[in-house]
Protein backbone atom coordinates (compact mmCIF):
# COMPACT_ATOMS: atom_id res chain seq x y z
CA UNK A 1 0.00 0.00 0.00
CA UNK A 2 3.12 2.20 0.05
CA UNK A 3 1.25 5.42 -0.57
CA UNK A 4 3.55 8.13 -1.83
CA UNK A 5 2.70 11.62 -0.74
CA UNK A 6 3.33 14.11 -3.51
CA UNK A 7 4.10 17.79 -3.09
CA UNK A 8 0.52 18.87 -3.64
CA UNK A 9 -0.67 16.56 -0.84
CA UNK A 10 2.08 17.98 1.37
CA UNK A 11 0.82 21.50 0.62
CA UNK A 12 -2.75 20.45 1.40
CA UNK A 13 -1.70 18.91 4.73
CA UNK A 14 0.38 22.00 5.56
CA UNK A 15 -2.69 24.13 4.87
CA UNK A 16 -4.78 21.95 7.21
CA UNK A 17 -2.08 22.30 9.88
CA UNK A 18 -1.74 26.07 9.32
CA UNK A 19 1.96 25.75 8.50
CA UNK A 20 3.56 28.04 5.95
CA UNK A 21 6.15 25.97 4.08
CA UNK A 22 8.51 26.80 1.26
CA UNK A 23 8.72 24.96 -2.07
CA UNK A 24 11.98 23.39 -0.93
CA UNK A 25 10.30 22.17 2.26
CA UNK A 26 7.36 20.76 0.28
CA UNK A 27 9.76 18.71 -1.87
CA UNK A 28 11.76 17.50 1.14
CA UNK A 29 8.68 16.59 3.18
CA UNK A 30 7.13 14.74 0.22
CA UNK A 31 10.18 12.48 0.15
CA UNK A 32 10.55 12.08 3.92
CA UNK A 33 6.85 11.59 4.71
CA UNK A 34 6.63 9.02 1.89
CA UNK A 35 9.55 7.13 3.45
CA UNK A 36 7.89 7.18 6.86
CA UNK A 37 4.48 6.17 5.50
CA UNK A 38 6.15 3.38 3.56
CA UNK A 39 7.57 2.12 6.84
CA UNK A 40 4.30 2.39 8.80
CA UNK A 41 2.49 0.44 6.06
CA UNK A 42 3.79 -2.70 7.82
CA UNK A 43 0.84 -2.25 10.20
CA UNK A 44 -1.29 -3.71 7.42
CA UNK A 45 0.38 -7.08 8.02
CA UNK A 46 -1.46 -7.22 11.34
CA UNK A 47 -4.99 -8.54 11.42
CA UNK A 48 -7.00 -6.28 13.70
CA UNK A 49 -10.48 -7.61 12.92
CA UNK A 50 -12.58 -7.21 16.02
CA UNK A 51 -9.75 -5.48 17.93
CA UNK A 52 -10.94 -2.29 19.61
CA UNK A 53 -8.78 0.84 19.24
CA UNK A 54 -6.79 1.89 22.29
CA UNK A 55 -6.73 5.63 22.73
CA UNK A 56 -5.45 5.65 26.26
CA UNK A 57 -3.31 3.21 28.27
CA UNK A 58 -5.61 3.35 31.27
CA UNK A 59 -9.32 2.97 31.69
CA UNK A 60 -10.25 6.64 31.86
CA UNK A 61 -13.49 8.36 32.66
CA UNK A 62 -14.51 11.98 32.70
CA UNK A 63 -13.55 13.67 35.94
CA UNK A 64 -15.81 16.43 37.17
CA UNK A 65 -15.22 18.85 40.00
CA UNK A 66 -17.77 20.66 42.08
CA UNK A 67 -19.14 23.72 40.33
CA UNK A 68 -17.82 26.22 42.83
CA UNK A 69 -16.26 29.59 42.14
CA UNK A 70 -12.50 29.80 42.53
CA UNK A 71 -9.78 32.26 41.77
CA UNK A 72 -8.51 32.27 38.19
CA UNK A 73 -5.82 34.19 36.44
CA UNK A 74 -5.63 37.95 36.43
CA UNK A 75 -5.83 39.74 33.10
CA UNK A 76 -2.20 40.71 33.57
CA UNK A 77 -1.15 37.09 33.95
CA UNK A 78 -3.16 36.02 30.93
CA UNK A 79 -1.71 38.77 28.74
CA UNK A 80 1.86 38.50 30.03
CA UNK A 81 3.15 36.56 27.01
CA UNK A 82 0.83 38.00 24.37
CA UNK A 83 2.76 39.20 21.31
CA UNK A 84 0.27 42.09 21.07
CA UNK A 85 -2.47 43.25 23.36
CA UNK A 86 -4.71 46.25 23.55
CA UNK A 87 -7.21 47.39 26.20
CA UNK A 88 -6.92 44.13 28.16
CA UNK A 89 -7.51 42.00 25.06
CA UNK A 90 -5.34 39.88 22.77
CA UNK A 91 -4.82 41.85 19.57
CA UNK A 92 -4.84 40.14 16.17
CA UNK A 93 -5.01 41.29 12.53
CA UNK A 94 -8.51 42.11 11.42
CA UNK A 95 -10.66 39.05 10.82
CA UNK A 96 -13.48 40.64 8.81
CA UNK A 97 -13.05 42.98 5.88
CA UNK A 98 -14.68 46.42 5.62
CA UNK A 99 -17.88 45.09 4.16
CA UNK A 100 -18.17 42.78 7.14
CA UNK A 101 -18.21 39.74 4.86
Amino acid sequence: MALIIDESTVRHVAQLARLAITDAEAALYAKQLSDILGYVAQLNEVSTDGVPPLDHPQAVANVLRDDEPRTGWTTEQALHNAPRSSRDCFQVPKVLDKEGA
Binding site: L16, A20, I36, V46, V51, Q58, N62, N81, P83
Partner: protein, 484 residues
Protein backbone atom coordinates in the same frame (compact mmCIF):
# COMPACT_ATOMS: atom_id res chain seq x y z
CA UNK B 1 35.73 14.02 41.31
CA UNK B 2 32.22 12.65 41.79
CA UNK B 3 29.79 15.02 43.45
CA UNK B 4 28.11 13.91 46.67
CA UNK B 5 24.85 12.03 46.21
CA UNK B 6 21.50 13.73 46.61
CA UNK B 7 20.98 11.75 49.81
CA UNK B 8 24.29 12.94 51.27
CA UNK B 9 23.63 16.55 50.33
CA UNK B 10 20.15 16.58 51.85
CA UNK B 11 21.39 14.90 55.05
CA UNK B 12 24.25 17.37 55.40
CA UNK B 13 22.10 20.42 54.75
CA UNK B 14 19.42 19.23 57.16
CA UNK B 15 22.06 18.55 59.83
CA UNK B 16 23.71 21.93 59.27
CA UNK B 17 27.03 20.35 58.25
CA UNK B 18 26.95 22.25 55.00
CA UNK B 19 24.84 25.15 53.78
CA UNK B 20 22.45 25.02 50.86
CA UNK B 21 24.10 28.15 49.50
CA UNK B 22 27.61 26.68 49.32
CA UNK B 23 26.19 23.48 47.79
CA UNK B 24 24.33 25.45 45.14
CA UNK B 25 27.26 27.77 44.43
CA UNK B 26 29.48 24.71 43.87
CA UNK B 27 26.92 23.33 41.38
CA UNK B 28 26.78 26.67 39.57
CA UNK B 29 30.60 26.67 39.32
CA UNK B 30 30.54 23.18 37.79
CA UNK B 31 27.87 24.31 35.34
CA UNK B 32 29.92 27.38 34.38
CA UNK B 33 32.90 25.13 33.71
CA UNK B 34 31.06 22.40 31.78
CA UNK B 35 28.15 24.07 30.01
CA UNK B 36 30.20 25.89 27.34
CA UNK B 37 31.59 22.52 26.20
CA UNK B 38 28.57 20.23 26.61
CA UNK B 39 25.59 22.65 26.48
CA UNK B 40 23.45 20.67 28.92
CA UNK B 41 21.49 23.69 30.09
CA UNK B 42 19.58 26.21 27.99
CA UNK B 43 19.41 28.65 30.88
CA UNK B 44 21.06 28.84 34.29
CA UNK B 45 18.77 30.02 37.09
CA UNK B 46 21.58 31.63 39.08
CA UNK B 47 19.64 34.27 41.01
CA UNK B 48 16.64 32.04 41.60
CA UNK B 49 18.88 29.23 42.88
CA UNK B 50 20.89 31.40 45.26
CA UNK B 51 17.72 33.05 46.62
CA UNK B 52 16.15 29.63 47.20
CA UNK B 53 19.31 28.30 48.86
CA UNK B 54 19.58 31.27 51.19
CA UNK B 55 15.92 30.92 52.17
CA UNK B 56 16.54 27.24 53.01
CA UNK B 57 19.57 28.18 55.14
CA UNK B 58 17.56 30.87 56.96
CA UNK B 59 14.78 28.40 57.71
CA UNK B 60 17.28 25.91 59.08
CA UNK B 61 18.86 28.61 61.26
CA UNK B 62 15.38 29.41 62.60
CA UNK B 63 14.92 25.77 63.56
CA UNK B 64 12.30 25.00 60.94
CA UNK B 65 12.15 21.48 59.45
CA UNK B 66 13.55 21.08 55.95
CA UNK B 67 12.35 18.91 53.07
CA UNK B 68 13.82 15.59 51.94
CA UNK B 69 15.75 17.22 49.09
CA UNK B 70 17.07 20.11 51.19
CA UNK B 71 19.66 22.04 49.20
CA UNK B 72 19.96 19.45 46.42
CA UNK B 73 20.75 21.14 43.09
CA UNK B 74 18.57 19.84 40.27
CA UNK B 75 18.13 20.54 36.56
CA UNK B 76 14.67 20.32 34.98
CA UNK B 77 13.95 19.81 31.31
CA UNK B 78 12.91 23.02 29.61
CA UNK B 79 9.46 21.71 28.70
CA UNK B 80 8.51 21.97 32.39
CA UNK B 81 6.94 25.31 33.24
CA UNK B 82 8.69 27.48 35.83
CA UNK B 83 7.69 30.93 37.01
CA UNK B 84 11.33 31.96 37.02
CA UNK B 85 13.20 32.44 33.75
CA UNK B 86 11.92 31.14 30.44
CA UNK B 87 10.33 27.85 29.37
CA UNK B 88 11.38 27.45 25.74
CA UNK B 89 10.87 23.76 24.90
CA UNK B 90 14.01 24.21 22.80
CA UNK B 91 11.90 26.07 20.24
CA UNK B 92 12.13 29.48 18.58
CA UNK B 93 8.37 29.74 18.91
CA UNK B 94 8.71 29.90 22.73
CA UNK B 95 12.11 31.62 22.85
CA UNK B 96 10.85 34.36 25.20
CA UNK B 97 8.00 32.50 26.90
CA UNK B 98 7.69 33.21 30.63
CA UNK B 99 5.29 30.82 32.33
CA UNK B 100 3.04 32.40 34.89
CA UNK B 101 2.75 29.17 36.87
CA UNK B 102 4.98 26.32 38.04
CA UNK B 103 4.49 22.75 36.83
CA UNK B 104 3.17 20.38 39.50
CA UNK B 105 6.59 18.68 39.72
CA UNK B 106 8.28 22.06 40.15
CA UNK B 107 5.93 22.88 43.05
CA UNK B 108 6.79 19.49 44.57
CA UNK B 109 10.54 20.13 44.18
CA UNK B 110 10.23 23.49 45.89
CA UNK B 111 8.14 21.98 48.68
CA UNK B 112 10.90 19.38 49.21
CA UNK B 113 13.52 22.20 49.33
CA UNK B 114 15.34 21.08 46.17
CA UNK B 115 17.01 23.96 44.31
CA UNK B 116 16.46 24.21 40.57
CA UNK B 117 19.70 25.49 39.07
CA UNK B 118 18.78 25.45 35.39
CA UNK B 119 16.55 24.39 32.53
CA UNK B 120 17.92 21.49 30.53
CA UNK B 121 18.29 21.30 26.76
CA UNK B 122 16.02 19.01 24.74
CA UNK B 123 14.96 18.20 21.22
CA UNK B 124 12.40 20.82 20.25
CA UNK B 125 9.12 19.99 22.05
CA UNK B 126 10.78 16.70 23.09
CA UNK B 127 10.65 15.45 19.48
CA UNK B 128 13.87 13.62 18.80
CA UNK B 129 16.31 10.98 19.96
CA UNK B 130 19.57 12.94 20.04
CA UNK B 131 19.01 16.49 21.40
CA UNK B 132 20.25 17.73 18.02
CA UNK B 133 16.79 19.18 17.28
CA UNK B 134 17.04 21.98 19.84
CA UNK B 135 16.75 25.39 18.21
CA UNK B 136 19.48 26.70 20.49
CA UNK B 137 22.29 24.18 20.12
CA UNK B 138 23.29 20.56 20.45
CA UNK B 139 23.98 18.84 23.78
CA UNK B 140 27.17 16.77 23.60
CA UNK B 141 27.79 13.43 25.24
CA UNK B 142 30.01 13.85 28.34
CA UNK B 143 31.78 10.55 27.55
CA UNK B 144 32.66 11.63 24.02
CA UNK B 145 31.74 15.17 22.96
CA UNK B 146 31.79 14.16 19.27
CA UNK B 147 28.72 12.01 19.96
CA UNK B 148 25.10 12.68 20.81
CA UNK B 149 23.77 12.61 24.37
CA UNK B 150 20.60 10.87 23.17
CA UNK B 151 17.22 12.49 23.40
CA UNK B 152 15.05 14.09 23.93
CA UNK B 153 16.08 14.60 27.60
CA UNK B 154 19.73 14.83 26.55
CA UNK B 155 20.46 17.96 28.56
CA UNK B 156 19.03 16.46 31.77
CA UNK B 157 21.01 13.22 31.39
CA UNK B 158 24.26 14.93 30.37
CA UNK B 159 23.96 17.28 33.37
CA UNK B 160 23.83 14.30 35.75
CA UNK B 161 26.45 12.29 33.85
CA UNK B 162 29.06 15.08 33.93
CA UNK B 163 28.52 15.61 37.65
CA UNK B 164 27.08 19.13 37.39
CA UNK B 165 24.00 18.08 39.38
CA UNK B 166 23.09 14.85 41.19
CA UNK B 167 19.48 14.86 39.96
CA UNK B 168 17.43 15.98 36.99
CA UNK B 169 13.91 15.66 35.66
CA UNK B 170 13.17 14.59 32.11
CA UNK B 171 10.08 13.59 30.18
CA UNK B 172 9.53 10.39 28.23
CA UNK B 173 7.01 10.00 25.39
CA UNK B 174 8.72 7.17 23.48
CA UNK B 175 12.03 6.72 25.29
CA UNK B 176 13.14 10.30 25.90
CA UNK B 177 14.38 9.60 29.45
CA UNK B 178 15.71 6.07 28.94
CA UNK B 179 17.59 6.53 25.66
CA UNK B 180 19.73 9.49 26.81
CA UNK B 181 20.17 7.84 30.22
CA UNK B 182 21.59 4.82 28.39
CA UNK B 183 23.83 6.93 26.12
CA UNK B 184 25.08 9.04 29.06
CA UNK B 185 25.52 6.18 31.57
CA UNK B 186 23.00 7.35 34.17
CA UNK B 187 19.86 5.95 35.76
CA UNK B 188 16.60 7.07 34.12
CA UNK B 189 13.09 6.02 35.10
CA UNK B 190 9.91 6.49 33.09
CA UNK B 191 7.12 6.10 35.62
CA UNK B 192 3.87 4.36 34.76
CA UNK B 193 1.44 6.51 32.82
CA UNK B 194 -0.46 8.63 35.37
CA UNK B 195 1.95 8.12 38.28
CA UNK B 196 3.22 11.72 38.00
CA UNK B 197 1.02 14.70 37.20
CA UNK B 198 1.62 16.25 33.78
CA UNK B 199 0.31 19.64 34.93
CA UNK B 200 2.78 22.17 33.53
CA UNK B 201 4.55 19.72 31.21
CA UNK B 202 4.18 21.20 27.74
CA UNK B 203 2.12 18.52 25.98
CA UNK B 204 3.51 16.40 23.12
CA UNK B 205 1.62 13.07 23.06
CA UNK B 206 -0.86 13.26 25.90
CA UNK B 207 -1.60 9.52 26.13
CA UNK B 208 2.15 8.78 26.26
CA UNK B 209 3.96 11.63 28.10
CA UNK B 210 5.38 11.05 31.58
CA UNK B 211 7.84 13.02 33.72
CA UNK B 212 10.53 11.00 35.48
CA UNK B 213 13.73 11.10 37.55
CA UNK B 214 17.31 10.94 36.29
CA UNK B 215 20.07 10.15 38.80
CA UNK B 216 23.24 8.13 39.25
CA UNK B 217 21.71 5.50 41.52
CA UNK B 218 18.42 3.79 42.31
CA UNK B 219 18.13 5.23 45.86
CA UNK B 220 18.48 8.78 44.52
CA UNK B 221 15.92 8.14 41.79
CA UNK B 222 13.59 6.56 44.37
CA UNK B 223 13.81 9.67 46.53
CA UNK B 224 13.05 11.98 43.61
CA UNK B 225 10.17 9.80 42.44
CA UNK B 226 8.77 9.87 45.98
CA UNK B 227 8.72 13.68 45.81
CA UNK B 228 7.02 13.99 42.41
CA UNK B 229 4.60 11.01 42.37
CA UNK B 230 0.95 11.17 43.35
CA UNK B 231 -2.48 12.35 42.37
CA UNK B 232 -3.05 15.93 41.28
CA UNK B 233 -6.58 17.13 40.61
CA UNK B 234 -5.23 19.42 37.86
CA UNK B 235 -4.24 16.36 35.77
CA UNK B 236 -7.31 14.18 35.51
CA UNK B 237 -5.20 11.32 34.11
CA UNK B 238 -2.98 11.20 37.20
CA UNK B 239 -3.83 8.03 39.12
CA UNK B 240 -5.37 8.10 42.58
CA UNK B 241 -3.57 4.99 43.89
CA UNK B 242 -1.52 5.57 47.04
CA UNK B 243 2.19 6.23 46.45
CA UNK B 244 4.27 3.41 47.96
CA UNK B 245 7.40 3.99 50.03
CA UNK B 246 10.01 3.64 47.28
CA UNK B 247 13.04 3.84 49.59
CA UNK B 248 11.69 0.93 51.61
CA UNK B 249 11.21 -1.11 48.42
CA UNK B 250 14.90 -0.83 47.49
CA UNK B 251 16.10 -3.56 49.83
CA UNK B 252 13.51 -6.16 48.90
CA UNK B 253 15.36 -9.41 48.14
CA UNK B 254 15.19 -10.59 44.54
CA UNK B 255 14.55 -14.19 45.59
CA UNK B 256 11.68 -15.48 43.51
CA UNK B 257 11.53 -12.40 41.27
CA UNK B 258 10.61 -13.59 37.78
CA UNK B 259 12.46 -11.87 34.94
CA UNK B 260 11.35 -12.38 31.35
CA UNK B 261 13.46 -12.02 28.23
CA UNK B 262 11.85 -11.70 24.82
CA UNK B 263 13.68 -12.63 21.63
CA UNK B 264 11.98 -9.66 19.97
CA UNK B 265 14.44 -7.42 21.86
CA UNK B 266 17.55 -9.34 20.80
CA UNK B 267 17.10 -9.61 17.04
CA UNK B 268 18.88 -8.20 13.99
CA UNK B 269 20.28 -4.73 14.39
CA UNK B 270 21.35 -5.17 18.01
CA UNK B 271 25.02 -4.31 18.48
CA UNK B 272 26.93 -7.34 19.75
CA UNK B 273 28.67 -5.50 22.57
CA UNK B 274 25.32 -4.15 23.78
CA UNK B 275 23.84 -7.64 23.57
CA UNK B 276 26.57 -9.24 25.66
CA UNK B 277 26.53 -6.47 28.29
CA UNK B 278 22.76 -6.81 28.69
CA UNK B 279 22.95 -10.61 28.86
CA UNK B 280 25.67 -10.36 31.51
CA UNK B 281 23.47 -7.96 33.52
CA UNK B 282 20.59 -10.43 33.39
CA UNK B 283 22.96 -13.14 34.68
CA UNK B 284 23.93 -10.86 37.57
CA UNK B 285 20.25 -10.47 38.48
CA UNK B 286 19.82 -14.25 38.26
CA UNK B 287 22.70 -14.73 40.70
CA UNK B 288 20.84 -12.45 43.13
CA UNK B 289 17.96 -14.91 43.22
CA UNK B 290 15.80 -13.90 40.25
CA UNK B 291 14.58 -16.57 37.87
CA UNK B 292 14.84 -15.99 34.12
CA UNK B 293 12.42 -17.31 31.52
CA UNK B 294 11.37 -16.54 27.97
CA UNK B 295 8.28 -14.54 27.01
CA UNK B 296 6.88 -13.55 23.62
CA UNK B 297 5.80 -10.11 22.49
CA UNK B 298 4.83 -10.75 18.86
CA UNK B 299 3.55 -7.22 18.18
CA UNK B 300 6.47 -5.35 19.77
CA UNK B 301 8.10 -4.97 16.34
CA UNK B 302 5.19 -2.80 15.21
CA UNK B 303 5.82 -0.34 18.04
CA UNK B 304 7.66 2.29 15.99
CA UNK B 305 5.08 2.28 13.20
CA UNK B 306 2.24 2.49 15.72
CA UNK B 307 3.94 5.21 17.76
CA UNK B 308 4.79 7.51 14.86
CA UNK B 309 1.10 7.68 13.96
CA UNK B 310 -0.37 7.91 17.47
CA UNK B 311 2.23 10.33 18.88
CA UNK B 312 2.24 12.59 15.83
CA UNK B 313 -1.57 12.67 15.70
CA UNK B 314 -1.65 13.77 19.34
CA UNK B 315 1.17 16.25 18.72
CA UNK B 316 -0.58 17.83 15.74
CA UNK B 317 -3.55 18.52 17.99
CA UNK B 318 -1.54 19.65 21.03
CA UNK B 319 0.68 22.00 19.04
CA UNK B 320 -2.31 23.73 17.44
CA UNK B 321 -2.24 26.05 20.46
CA UNK B 322 0.90 27.78 19.15
CA UNK B 323 -0.79 30.26 16.86
CA UNK B 324 0.89 33.56 17.71
CA UNK B 325 -2.15 34.93 19.56
CA UNK B 326 -1.74 34.31 23.29
CA UNK B 327 1.97 33.53 23.53
CA UNK B 328 4.98 32.67 21.45
CA UNK B 329 6.40 33.97 18.22
CA UNK B 330 4.15 36.03 15.94
CA UNK B 331 5.08 36.75 12.36
CA UNK B 332 4.84 40.45 11.56
CA UNK B 333 4.82 40.02 7.78
CA UNK B 334 1.13 39.23 7.47
CA UNK B 335 -1.97 40.68 5.88
CA UNK B 336 -4.66 38.65 7.63
CA UNK B 337 -5.16 36.31 10.56
CA UNK B 338 -4.86 33.08 8.56
CA UNK B 339 -1.53 34.17 7.21
CA UNK B 340 -0.51 35.13 10.75
CA UNK B 341 -1.21 31.59 12.01
CA UNK B 342 0.60 29.88 9.15
CA UNK B 343 3.63 32.17 9.07
CA UNK B 344 4.03 32.31 12.86
CA UNK B 345 4.06 28.52 12.95
CA UNK B 346 6.19 28.16 9.83
CA UNK B 347 8.82 30.56 11.22
CA UNK B 348 8.64 29.36 14.82
CA UNK B 349 8.78 25.57 14.50
CA UNK B 350 11.87 23.62 13.45
CA UNK B 351 12.04 20.95 10.76
CA UNK B 352 11.31 17.87 12.90
CA UNK B 353 8.34 19.50 14.63
CA UNK B 354 6.85 20.51 11.28
CA UNK B 355 7.42 17.01 9.94
CA UNK B 356 5.58 15.46 12.88
CA UNK B 357 2.73 17.97 12.80
CA UNK B 358 2.23 17.16 9.12
CA UNK B 359 2.47 13.41 9.63
CA UNK B 360 -0.09 13.59 12.45
CA UNK B 361 -2.36 15.93 10.51
CA UNK B 362 -2.24 13.55 7.55
CA UNK B 363 -2.98 10.51 9.74
CA UNK B 364 -6.06 12.28 11.14
CA UNK B 365 -7.26 13.79 7.89
CA UNK B 366 -10.41 12.88 6.05
CA UNK B 367 -9.91 9.75 3.95
CA UNK B 368 -6.81 8.59 5.83
CA UNK B 369 -7.97 8.50 9.46
CA UNK B 370 -9.16 4.88 9.47
CA UNK B 371 -6.26 3.48 7.45
CA UNK B 372 -3.60 5.15 9.59
CA UNK B 373 -4.69 6.53 12.95
CA UNK B 374 -7.39 3.98 13.75
CA UNK B 375 -5.24 1.10 12.53
CA UNK B 376 -2.39 2.28 14.78
CA UNK B 377 -4.74 2.43 17.77
CA UNK B 378 -5.90 -1.13 17.09
CA UNK B 379 -2.31 -2.36 16.92
CA UNK B 380 -1.67 -0.45 20.16
CA UNK B 381 -4.31 -2.65 21.79
CA UNK B 382 -2.46 -5.76 20.59
CA UNK B 383 0.86 -4.45 21.95
CA UNK B 384 -0.74 -3.78 25.34
CA UNK B 385 -2.30 -7.26 25.33
CA UNK B 386 1.09 -8.85 24.56
CA UNK B 387 2.56 -7.23 27.65
CA UNK B 388 -0.43 -8.11 29.82
CA UNK B 389 -0.05 -11.76 28.82
CA UNK B 390 3.73 -11.70 29.41
CA UNK B 391 3.27 -10.15 32.84
CA UNK B 392 1.08 -13.07 33.87
CA UNK B 393 4.24 -15.17 33.65
CA UNK B 394 6.95 -12.76 34.83
CA UNK B 395 7.36 -9.72 37.10
CA UNK B 396 9.84 -7.77 34.96
CA UNK B 397 11.02 -7.86 31.36
CA UNK B 398 14.71 -7.17 30.71
CA UNK B 399 16.09 -5.86 27.42
CA UNK B 400 18.59 -3.44 25.94
CA UNK B 401 17.53 0.23 26.02
CA UNK B 402 18.86 0.93 22.54
CA UNK B 403 20.35 -1.14 19.73
CA UNK B 404 23.64 0.81 19.85
CA UNK B 405 25.69 3.08 22.07
CA UNK B 406 25.77 6.85 21.45
CA UNK B 407 26.18 7.62 17.74
CA UNK B 408 28.25 10.45 16.23
CA UNK B 409 26.74 13.92 15.99
CA UNK B 410 25.03 14.43 12.64
CA UNK B 411 24.96 10.74 11.72
CA UNK B 412 21.16 10.47 11.57
CA UNK B 413 20.15 14.12 11.18
CA UNK B 414 19.30 13.81 7.49
CA UNK B 415 17.32 10.57 7.84
CA UNK B 416 14.30 10.94 10.14
CA UNK B 417 13.33 7.28 9.87
CA UNK B 418 16.80 6.08 10.93
CA UNK B 419 16.56 8.41 13.94
CA UNK B 420 13.10 7.04 14.83
CA UNK B 421 14.50 3.49 14.89
CA UNK B 422 16.75 4.46 17.84
CA UNK B 423 13.59 4.15 19.97
CA UNK B 424 12.74 0.62 18.85
CA UNK B 425 13.12 -0.94 22.32
CA UNK B 426 11.69 1.88 24.44
CA UNK B 427 8.49 2.84 22.65
CA UNK B 428 6.29 -0.11 23.65
CA UNK B 429 6.42 0.82 27.34
CA UNK B 430 4.79 4.16 26.53
CA UNK B 431 2.20 2.63 24.21
CA UNK B 432 1.23 0.12 26.92
CA UNK B 433 1.47 2.56 29.87
CA UNK B 434 4.13 0.50 31.69
CA UNK B 435 6.93 1.74 33.94
CA UNK B 436 10.44 1.21 32.61
CA UNK B 437 13.96 2.32 33.32
CA UNK B 438 17.51 2.40 32.07
CA UNK B 439 20.26 1.13 34.38
CA UNK B 440 23.97 1.54 33.50
CA UNK B 441 25.28 -1.96 32.74
CA UNK B 442 28.67 -1.56 31.07
CA UNK B 443 30.71 0.13 28.38
CA UNK B 444 31.62 -0.75 24.83
CA UNK B 445 35.23 -0.96 23.63
CA UNK B 446 35.12 2.74 22.79
CA UNK B 447 34.26 3.59 26.40
CA UNK B 448 30.63 4.48 25.70
CA UNK B 449 27.96 3.53 28.25
CA UNK B 450 25.40 0.75 27.72
CA UNK B 451 21.98 0.63 29.40
CA UNK B 452 19.88 -2.28 30.64
CA UNK B 453 16.13 -1.70 30.33
CA UNK B 454 13.79 -3.17 32.90
CA UNK B 455 10.03 -2.93 32.35
CA UNK B 456 7.19 -3.70 34.76
CA UNK B 457 3.40 -3.48 34.78
CA UNK B 458 1.79 -0.14 35.58
CA UNK B 459 2.47 1.00 39.17
CA UNK B 460 5.11 -1.68 39.82
CA UNK B 461 7.91 0.89 40.24
CA UNK B 462 8.93 -0.71 43.58
CA UNK B 463 9.91 -3.92 41.76
CA UNK B 464 11.93 -2.00 39.19
CA UNK B 465 13.75 -0.04 41.86
CA UNK B 466 14.49 -3.16 43.94
CA UNK B 467 15.98 -4.95 40.93
CA UNK B 468 18.01 -1.91 39.91
CA UNK B 469 19.31 -1.40 43.43
CA UNK B 470 20.31 -5.06 43.80
CA UNK B 471 22.13 -4.80 40.47
CA UNK B 472 23.88 -1.56 41.37
CA UNK B 473 24.99 -3.04 44.72
CA UNK B 474 26.93 -5.68 42.77
CA UNK B 475 28.35 -3.52 40.00
CA UNK B 476 30.30 -0.30 39.85
CA UNK B 477 29.39 1.04 36.40
CA UNK B 478 27.49 3.92 38.00
CA UNK B 479 30.59 4.97 39.98
CA UNK B 480 32.56 5.68 36.82
CA UNK B 481 32.44 9.18 35.54
CA UNK B 482 33.44 10.71 32.24
CA UNK B 483 36.05 13.03 33.69
CA UNK B 484 38.04 10.01 34.92
Amino acid sequence: MPTPSALEIAANVRAGKTSAEETVRAALERIDALNPKLFMLLSVARDHAIDQARAIDRRRAAGEPLGVLAGVPIAVKDNLCTRFGTTTCGSRILENFESRFDAHVVERLHAADAVIVGKANLDEFAMGSSTENSAFGVTRNPWDPTRVAGGSSGGSCAAVACGAVPLALGSDTGGSIRLPASFCGVFGLKPSYGRVSRRGLVAFGSSLDQIGPIARTAPEAALLLQVIAGHDPRDSTSVADAVPDYAQALDRPLTGLRIGIAEEYFGDGLNLEVRSAVQAAIQTLAKSGATVSTVHLPHMKYGIACYYLVATAEASSNLARFDGVRYGHRSEKVSDIHEMYARSRGEGFGAEVKRRIMLGTFALSSGYHDAYYLKAQEVRTLIQRDFAAAFEQVDLIASPVAPTTAFPLGEKSADPLAMYLSDIYTIAANLAGLCAMSVPCGFDRGGLPIGLQLMAPALDEPKLLAAAHAYQCQTDWHHRNPTG
